[in-house]
């Protein structure tokens, strides 16, 4: 197989479409082929850019109403009283999601939107004591996606990743297999957050990377932060600090945190 033949598979790897056997094969090829490694990094950075530039759109405000009018009215359905009139136009959207979608819509709107985002970021900054760390974690997350340094050890096997840390750091994070929960282990690396060494366990949700930073200590920080479109979840356990960082939806990252904590 030449590199040209492998090209669609490199894309498939980036899209999380390969089974474990093929994923390992292509990952091994990438590790030894500078050309394919470069294409892979380019694909990942393009995907990242497309995911975070606010390119998913929101339907115009009147459209949902017009479609609803064409449907038989919902009045006869149970619990009509509990549905307040003012939210009726968007009652079928989960509230948390609605806000996110609106924000994305606003960002997609272009003019003026950045000011809004900047205000929000500013607000978040003021509100969060963990902001310096959050910024540095998001930077670490972005570095891992943009460059070649997503893994030092690349394996979907928890029994390979966990011992690897033991020889590198004074912290050995739990490395549970969360595949059944929809989070695939892809590897681990050592990273630096505000000057301290951290173990990073890397999982993947569909095509999205979740970096889980772990270091000793239990400094207080908010459990949940959103920064520049990235979600962060923080918790402590057994004297260790955990930070999960990803661009997946906050609810999904919450699921990840739950699954990880339940398994450790």
């Amino acid at each position: 197989m030449t590199c040209d033949d492998k090209k669609p598979l490199v894309h498939a790897l980036a899209d999380g479409e390969l089974d474990v056997v093929h994923a390992r094969e292509i990952e091994a090829h990438i590790a030894s082929c500078a050309n394919c490694a470069e294409s892979y990094a380019e694909i990942m950075s393009l995907k990242q850019r497309l995911a975070t530039a606010g390119l998913r759109l929101q339907a115009p405000a009147g459209l949902a109403e017009r479609i609803l009018q064409a449907l038989p009215p919902p009045e006869a359905v149970e619990e009509p009283v509990r549905r307040p009139v003012r939210v009726r136009q968007a009652w079928w959207r989960a509230p948390a999601n609605a806000w996110r979608l609106r924000l994305q819509g606003a960002l997609a709107g272009g003019a003026g939107a950045f000011a809004l985002a900047a205000c929000l970021a500013f607000f978040v900054m003021r509100a969060d004591t963990g902001n310096e760390i959050a910024r540095s974690l998001v930077d670490g997350h972005l570095r891992s996606l943009a460059g070649q340094h997503l893994f030092d050890v690349q394996s979907t096997d928890q029994h390979t990743v966990k011992p690897w840390f033991a020889g590198k750091l004074d912290v050995t994070p739990p490395v549970p297999d969360l595949a059944l929960k929809g989070f695939t282990l892809v590897g681990g690396r050592v990273d630096y957050v505000e000057g301290r060494a951290a173990a990073v366990v890397v999982y993947r949700r569909r095509t999205h990377v979740i970096n889980l930073f772990v270091w000793p200590g239990t400094d207080p920080a908010p459990p949940s932060i959103e920064l520049s479109g990235y979600m962060l979840r923080h918790w402590t356990k057994d004297g260790l600090t955990f930070w999960a960082v990803s661009d997946i939806a906050g609810s999904e990252l919450g699921e990840f945190a739950e699954a990880y904590r339940a398994a450790t």
């Binding site: 497309l50 079928w92 960002l107 569909r206």
Partner: protein
């Protein structure tokens, strides 16, 4: 209104309406026109409701997008012809296809600008490449679902996606290079 119809309509509402933004997003990238996208999305929902009794109940998204695609095709029978409708053109001089206004000076900031330029570059991709890219990146379809909705083998989906990304990447680099030299 019969009670059964009422229940069906409620079920349709719960399953299909949360996908409206996604339907609109796809329609907007495919038509490159806000009004047409809105019309197509609305027509899709009305058609979908009419055919809803024929929906097997497995996964509504591919089903809904198949209808959306048919709506788009009925509005322009040649839309999904496999021949590229235009070349990617010179990325350096992008005529607005998407219809965004120029950014005003106050918001001339990297992120908003990136979004505008990326939308323009995506809009310039040949339809079948653009379609694969949008379904993958903005609608979170798997390769298998893209193959199902667009009616081509998975191998074709993969090569279209690779082409879409290559063209986008090349055009993006060209823009960046131009930005640096001016």
């Amino acid at each position: 209104m019969a009670e059964a119809d009422q229940r069906e309509s409620e079920r349709f509402r719960k399953l299909a309406l949360p996908l409206l933004d996604e339907v609109y997003t796809f329609a907007r990238y495919l038509t490159r026109n806000a009004d047409e996208a809105e019309d197509a999305a609305q027509e899709t929902y009305l058609r979908a409701l009419r055919y809803f009794s024929g929906f097997s109940g497995e996964s509504i998204k591919p089903w809904l997008f198949t209808i959306l695609r048919n709506v788009l095709r009925s509005r322009d029978p040649r839309r999904f012809d496999p021949l590229p409708e235009n070349d990617a053109g010179e990325a350096g001089q992008v005529d607005p296809l998407w219809g965004d206004a120029e950014p005003d000076p106050e918001t001339h900031l990297a992120r908003a600008d990136d979004a505008r330029q990326l939308r323009e570059l995506i809009a310039r991709l040949p339809t079948v490449y653009r379609e694969a890219l949008v379904l993958k990146e903005f609608n979170d379809f798997s390769y298998r679902q893209i193959a199902e909705v667009t009616g081509v083998p998975i191998g074709t989906v993969m090569s279209r996606l690779a082409r879409a990304r290559e063209e986008l990447q090349t055009a993006w680099f060209a823009l960046e290079k131009k930005a640096k030299t001016t």
